[in-house]
Each structure stands twice: as structure tokens, then as C-alpha cells.
Amino acid sequence: MSKKALTVALMDPPYESENLTTAFRILDVAARRGYDINVFAYEGASGLAFTRQMPHPNPVHGKNVAEENHPTTKDQVAALLAETEKNGGKLDWVNCGMCVDERGVGEFVPGTRRGSPADFHAFVEASDNVLVIPTK
């Protein structure tokens, strides 16, 4: 069976919906199967790979930084890159350039890149399937 290529378009910003958790669950399975994965991070999702995200303590939970172990999406993106490579796949994670500029989130996780709608078009053309997870 030939290797599968999957494209996922994301729109939600980190820390504001459950959509991204669903997306990362799907992407994790694809990475474990060694698929080639393309992600087009559009609008708020262009902040997912922003490297200046920081975990924080949670005084309401009564936990320090280590105990709270707050998730950051930049760590999830980095883990996805590593898992894809480990299983023989390729992850091309594109951060929409204009979306990035609007938000000032131009420092990406290494291995992700700046791109444009033309990249999304190319992804669609080259993929076996495309999943769009829009903001509602």
C-alpha cells in the first residue's frame, strides 16, 4: 500500500476551544502510522507553533509550574514533528504568514515554516484526503 498523505487545515487559536485537542489526537494517529502530513495553520492557529508560549503555575489549583505541567501547543507541535520523523513520515507545518504578522507570532518551532494560501492549495492537490477544522 502506498504511503498516505493527509492535509489538515486549522483555524482556532490555542487555549480557546476543544477543536485543537481533537486535531492533535488525529494528527498523532497519522504520525504514528507514518503518514505524510501537511498542516496549514490559518488565522488564530498560526500561533500554535509560537515558541514564546510559557507554562505557568496555577494558584487556583494550588500547583507550581512543575506540578501544573501546563500544556503548550508549541510542545505538541514539536512532539508531532518528532513522531512523524520517527515513523518515516514527513510533516510540513505551514504558518500563514499574514496571520503570523497580524499577531506578532513569527518565532516558530524549528521545522515549521512560514507560508501562504498557495501552500494550502498545493497541499490539497497532493493529498489523499483533506480535513478542515474551522472556527465556529
Binding site: 476551544s17 492533535f24 512532539a79 518528532a82 513522531e83
Partner: protein, 129 residues
């Protein structure tokens, strides 16, 4: 004396995995610590927050694992027991979802929709989240 605020929480399970809690309940708990005086009404899908024994496995991405996944029943109990914030649950919304009152964490108050206006009258501000 702080203004008494009635908080009607309807939005539910939004970003709870990434935040490891509900951001509205978290905000109310934090404000209570700063001297605010809050009451909470769970309505709509948010009534499910009061169901005891819920939980979810943490997110896993490759070698990365979430270790502190949210537990919403724990957070509701924290409001009631530690913060002394009264928490009401709308009974009609429970019934519509097939949830029985015996399934709820201890300490929540049951409230009919028809009794809500009476609660409004007891508070200075009403916030609908």
C-alpha cells in the same frame, strides 16, 4: 462589601483540555480569592460539570503526554467546599440530558428555571457566560 454577582455558566467544555480547567470557573475562583462575592448557576451543557466521577485521559502527541487533564467535578467541588461559592444546577437542563440529581457532586443546589428570577433579585450583577 463586594457586589454580589450571579454567574450563569452555559458554555461548557471549551478549551478545558488546553487550560486544564474551565476558564470561567477558574476566573470566579481567582476573583473570590481577591474578595469578590460570587454565586454560580450551571445551565445548558454546563450542568454536566456537576456530574461526579467524570474525567478524561490526557492528550498524547508522540512522546509528549499531558499529566494534569481536567476534572470538572473536582473543580465544582472546589468552588463549593473551598471557596464557599454557592453552585446551583438548573433541574430542567439536567432532565433534558437524562442526568439524575443523585449523580451530582454533593453540595450543589437544584434550581428550577422558574426560580431563577428570584435569584436575580438577590444579586447586584448578573453575568451570563
Amino acid at each position: 462589601m463586594a457586589k454580589k454577582t450571579l454567574n450563569i455558566v452555559e458554555s461548557a467544555y471549551r478549551a478545558v483540555m488546553e487550560e486544564q480547567d474551565d476558564t470561567v470557573l477558574w476566573l470566579l475562583a481567582a476573583m473570590q480569592g481577591a474578595g469578590a462575592q460570587h454565586t454560580v448557576v450551571l445551565r445548558g451543557n454546563a450542568v454536566n460539570y456537576a456530574v461526579a466521577g467524570q474525567g478524561v485521559p490526557g492528550l498524547t502527541v508522540g512522546e509528549w503526554k499531558q499529566t494534569q487533564a481536567p476534572k470538572m467535578d473536582r473543580d465544582v467541588l472546589d468552588l463549593i467546599e473551598k471557596r464557599k461559592i454557592p453552585v446551583y444546577v438548573v433541574t430542567e437542563d439536567l432532565a433534558e440530558r437524562g442526568i439524575e440529581s443523585r449523580e451530582l457532586v454533593p453540595g450543589v443546589h437544584l434550581l428550577s428555571r422558574t426560580a431563577l428570577p428570584g435569584l436575580f433579585a438577590e444579586h447586584t450583577l448578573v453575568a451570563h457566560w
